[in-house]
Symmetry: C2
Subunit: 336 residues, 2 copies
DNA sequence: GGTGGCAATTTGAACGATCAAATCGCCCCG
DNA sequence: CGGGGCGATTTGATCGTTCAAATTGCCACC
């Protein structure tokens, strides 16, 4: 009666082949301690011979879990392939933890919450990773209210010690590392080029610069440039700083895009070497390709992904683990 | 007895609330024609009131389908966020067709096929999209042998009319459009800068250039530059062409990376305008950011994704639709 | 020799949905 | 007035797995 379906072999087929009951086969796979060694061996051979693989839908139904993590992806707007790299790290980390990543793209903005709810209610996913948390993100309280498991990559700014679980990278620390590096190489006029005020991560990185400059007893006045993310505008902003009376000799930047702009604005000296030294942020392949010897601050994406998945798994399985914020340190990749 | 679970409401709860049987509720959702209007209305109200959503695992089990499409993602190496954009298009198209995209990352190279097989055998996915088909891809015959549904984005080079189903973009046509555009703007010495021989898509694009040059009766000798993908090497290769006796006045390029390199090598004239005109390939945001007024050839990613999903759906559901190759036309985005 | 205990294994039920077949109620027609 | 036909609805079985409880077999102990 069994084994008649397309994909094939069921647990009962294996049981019949090994001369045991379904449950014993299940035990061999899920609770090996309960089965006598020689029985287990016989079952394993039957499994091997028939090529049995447990049906996921049946497991999901029985266990009330999909072992899938939901991730919303939005229309790509940025320049870097940051999402690519995070996605890969997350997929790998999820796989190592026995999960899969399930992507979805909400069609209309209003639908967004409905789509999240649907995925949970239908049991399509067990929880979510939010990689695009904004300052007053309405999803966070909404999820918490419904006890929907989720973990943020990126701090919920203003509520770092609040009821949410997140993993993030200490941007201020990274920028300080950049300043230290440039100072060690003899620079005294180190400018900061990044986003205008208002983004959590941007403000933090700028503060890191200021802190490091004070620590090194270096002048900071007039050494701030801000602009939106974009090579052209960044080059323009950097150019303005460079034509001042006492121009900077080096830049630390909020993003690699800003950094490439600064690099272009600085131009080359008579030996064909870049005139200003620059430290970027993200160590993106695109920037490296354009400006191979530029230093940059690298986020530990693999570690981020592992922690995110670990925390989410705990919240999915455990029920109510307490909220937790994990801060990781980026690393300066010095190339000059 | 029912409705005791965490997520909640089952079809039986709805049935009880509406005073009908399970099956009638199921019919309201899946075969509305079979249900009397007033009954259907009553059931719909119960669904609404209880917030019922059918359990996906139960559906999957019964219907022997997961409504998930598997996609392998590899460690990102390239510079462009092409994958980002394709991923988004694919996720949207899948969603519109009632599917979800499920990502996975094989750990070891040897494991790759095993991972594919596992996902199918466990019923985790219904089929695959292959976005990285190489010339003698061993996965294709392997999948075909096992009747595993899949569709390629990118031609299986050398077997375009073979037993495989694919969707691709006509790169040669795109490059020809680029040459036409440059010729119409008065250029006569139009160089090609792209990958060295050996990649299917690269060779095709170069052939497109040659064909167009012949069509326009323009000289092609000595106007080919090849190099790996990378801004620096591309700039170098373009520079070599530009220092020849009769240098090109314009470039069509195999990729945006090559194009940015050519643009840099060309430099600016005394008015601050680019000295050579360049047409890139992919219309990537990164390139636009670096070189805002550069033209490029845009692949119709949304259309590609829709077709891929449509073909895969047919092959998953229909069983044995005949193999089919779909060729789409890219479009020149002229900016200069 | 009966019994308690324990390890190994089996049986029955459940997860939540859908398909196929059976049933119900109703009207029409001979 | 009985039966055929038909639309609407219900019942029973099933998908493949795992949990909980029941059963079996075996040994030791009193």
């Amino acid at each position: 009666m069994s084994g008649r379906n397309a994909n094939g072999v069921t647990i009962s087929d294996v049981a019949a082949a090994a001369g045991v009951s379904r449950q014993t086969v299940s035990n061999v796979l899920n609770a090996p301690g309960r089965v006598a060694p020689e029985t287990a061996e016989r079952v394993r051979q039957a499994i091997e011979k028939l090529g049995y693989r447990p049906n996921r839908a049946a497991q999901n139904l029985r266990e009330r879990a999909s072992r899938c993590i939901g991730l919303k992806i939005a229309a790509p707007i940025g320049v870097s392939n940051f999402l690519d790299r995070f996605l890969y790290a997350l997929t790998s980390a999820a796989g190592a933890a026995g999960y899969h990543l399930l992507l979805f793209a909400p069609t209309a903005v209003d639908e967004e919450l409905a789509v999240y709810e649907d995925l949970i209610r239908t049991g399509t996913v067990d929880g979510f990773v939010l990689a695009d948390v904004s300052a007053k993100d309405r999803r966070l309280p909404w999820f918490a209210e419904r006890r929907i498991p989720f973990v943020c990559f990126g701090r919920p700014w203003g509520q770092e010690d609040g009821p949410y679980t997140w993993v993030d990278v200490d941007g201020a620390y990274g920028i300080e590392q950049g300043v230290d590096h440039l100072a060690a190489r003899g620079h005294r006029r180190i400018a900061y080029l990044g986003w205008p005020e208002g983004t959590g991560f941007g403000d933090e990185r700028r503060k890191g610069w200021l802190r490091a400059m004070e620590r090194h007893d270096l002048p900071a006045d007039g050494l701030i440039g801000v602009c939106a993310e974009g090579v052209a505008v960044a080059a323009e902003a950097a150019g303005r700083l460079l034509t001042m009376p006492a121009p900077p000799t080096a830049f630390v930047c909020g993003s690699d895009t800003h950094a490439v702009g600064a690099r272009l604005a600085g131009g080359l000296d008579t030996d064909g070497r870049p005139r200003v030294e620059v430290v970027g942020f993200d160590d993106s392949p695109a920037a490296t390709l354009i400006s191979p010897r530029m230093s940059s601050i690298r986020q530990p994406l693999d570690e981020v992904a592992r922690r995110v998945v670990g925390l989410l798994k705990a919240r999915v399985q455990g029920g109510d683990s307490p909220p937790e914020g994990v801060m990781l340190r980026p690393e300066l990749v010095a190339r000059e």
